[in-house]
Amino acid sequence: MEFQNIIISLEKYWINKGCFLWHPYATEVGAGTMNPATFFGILGKKKWNVVYLEPSQRPADARYGENPIRLYQHHQMQVILKPPPSDIQNIYIHSLKTLGIDVSKHDLRFIEDNWEAPTLGAWGVGWEVWLDGLEITQFTYMQQAGGIDLDPVSVEITYGLDRIACFLQGKQSVFDIDWGSNTNYGFLHQERERQYSFFGFKEANVELLWICFDGFEKEAKSLLEKKLFYPAYDYILKLSHIFNLLEARSSISVGERTRIIARIRALANLCAQQYIERGN
């Protein structure tokens, strides 16, 4: 199955299960969890079922486009179900069938793995899903976001599309994946991977990043003072990405690391509180 058809099939599948289709966010995120459709969506009491593609940037995972599966930017398909149906595990397993995976012929495992986004004060309990040993999905019952206990809890299902495509197409490297419409993954992404790797590991201007960090933090704070938590949240995402870049550049000492996470999380917690206070 072509990469673009994997995206479409999963979107269709979850739309049929009652999700609405959202879109990737317009700023860099490290994971689909950071998209406001998840961070805010899982807060509060309201029903919230959503599916969307999320290209996610993790500078430290970059490999100059030379590693078969490690990427600066990978592709996630994110699904949120609030509250989760009681047969959610089977619904998920069934979604693999729509990709043409006959799970009864494979070795499918749910291996304990608890996911956490420390800068967002978000965490949950769940699994890595292994298909013949390959990690294809992170499946999490989210317990907290923005430091707030979630009630009801949400299920977050995050498909690693690049790996799934490798698996389906029997490719050894993501860059060999057939993207669809006579295009391949490498053609679209390999040069980007190379350049972003140089950027993340060697070229990103550390001094400028710190200036941006302080400025963006100030901006988020002043927006929060005016209870404008949506735009404030955008700045929190930027802070989070800057933090990831600084880490990739090895420019954060240990003490700083803990403090920076705490600074970003404090803002995220405020966003979550204001969102709840708005009656959500």
Partner: protein, 698 residues
Amino acid sequence: MKTEHLLIEIGCEDLPVWAGKHFIERFKLLFLEELSARRLAAGEIMFFFTNRRLVIFVRDLPSRSAAGQKEVTGPGFENSFDENGQPTRAAIGFARAHGVSISSLKVKNINGRKVVYIVKKIPGFSVSSIISGIFASVMKKIEIPRGMRWNNSKDVFYRPVRWILALYGKQKIDIEFGGIKSSRYTFGHRFLCPQKIKISDWKDYFDKTQKAFVVLGEDLREKFILNLLEKNIKNGESFEKSAAANLANLIEYPSVIRCNFPAVDYTIPEEVLRVLIEKANGVPIFRDGHLEKQFFVVCDGNSSEIVRINYENLLRTRILDAQFFFDSDISITLDEMKKKLDRIVFHQRWGTMAKRVERLRLLSSEISDILGFNTIFKNILVRAAELCKHDLASEMVREFPDLHGTMGAIYARHSGESKDVCEVISRYKYPVYSADPLPENDCAVVLGIIDRLDLICGFIAAGVDVSGSEDPYGLRRTASGFFSLVLKLGIELDYAGIVEKILDAYGVSGQDLVLSKKNIVEFLIQRFESYLDTEGFPKGLRTSVISIDRMDFVKTRKKLNAIRDFIIETKEADAILVPVTRVANILKQANEKGIVVSEFNSILLREAGEVALAKYYDRFSKMAEETLQNGDYSGFLGVISELKSPVDEFFSNVLVMCPQEQLKVNRLSLLKKFNDIFMKFADFSFIREEDIKNVRKN
């Protein structure tokens, strides 16, 4: 009374690998407590689990609980009856509240106070009402690490509960947890037999789950896997049973595939390959101590050709990935790697791993001197201490933490360190699990001791609470490894001094030092008690020696061994130890009565028995001191044996607690002289008869 078996199956979404054992330990305790509180005597209680179900099987449970009675205490006697013996309003009210007449009120003494009470009959209840009543509350009482909520019930468990089967004999029992009501249904293997299955009773359950591809017993699954592996192994090949056993709790129905290594070039060491295989549900195959170019994969249910190809491809990707880490690790020098330790936190209060390494280096040098090791040994130890944490900063160990030590040694060797130093680096972290073999190399043992004690001291000094039932920082496991190594080293040493040195290296001083040291010593002694317990030393024995030698673990253990051997080898050990404990006990009692024992005075000797005993003292003390100085603890017990007849004679002849004060004190003083020497070995007053019996039994 009619009895039946009770069967409860809790069906869950996939449980963490540790959950089954964790559940059994806690549920069993709480459940049996509740049963006995309700006077329901269970026969045997058994547990089974897989990654998708927890099964409780209670044999021979009576259909009703026993009837019983309890005393209910009412108002005080004076408030219940007036001077004329007439009941007051308080008494009338109490009787009425419990539905009894005034005449059935009884009177008893509680701490010298007279109170009124009644005896209340408690009827027996049906087993179904009792189980319905206690199940959910027991489930809720289990403290679950990283527990989760998943629905409106707000109940917390390891993973969501999706079905509950509960049968007493053929009768369904109504229980509820996590918003799930019990039923008569179970489910088979997720893919091999996914349908709902109706169950009539326990026999039917064990029969049908087996047919539905669920291997319930942990040990059965393990055996199942081992059999499959044995069947597929070729002549001259071998595999590690532990690698197979680790996989047993992640599956319901094992199957095994033999896979080939992918065609790919690599230079990563075998140790890494092995971990890569194990990380992917695999079991490495060895021939002559080296990896074969084939490996087993243990699957849950399916083992088709396509699964084999996928696992082979997976290993190919993993090898390429590991090769990337390996190449980038060896492209930098050890010094560059060391710099990265500045970026790894050891503990918030104590700073980075780099600081910890500096401390280990310093302590290694000091402790090497204390232990009296030669320069060659010291140099190896100090260099290994300096390098042993380097690999924590490597890409490979960040990805595969289990390879810590192994990679450290490989990278150190690559940069030209001596074989001896590398050997220490690769071995010092063992035992990681209690079954691990200990390092053979003394240097690695010493570094392991320092490393563990540094960790324990740091965490406790930083205020980590070690009193709870959980062990979040793994300090108990660390302590257990520490003791194994200390005993392996076998050098008598008061580790309290080492603790102080370590705290000093942390920069802890003043009041903080006193308190931290106290907490650390308490923790270690308590853990050592428990360590010796698992080695089979009964409580009285342990306490008798620990109370004397405290933080000298080696001496303690040697003495305990001597006592144990003595008890086992000497038929009349009880008879020999009895007079000794008698001396210890009589002094303890005197002390409790406030009798001050003074200087012994031979002029005050009256009876033949005491004269003889006093005469015996010099010979005894000389021999006893000699054995202690030589660390000959069996010898000491031999000397003690010879005391039996003079002491027995003394006690049958002489009344110690006689009316004449002066004589009494002097007799006690004579006994104290003996006891002072006993006390250099152990406080025998702690040893009871059952301890001696227990030693013989084990």
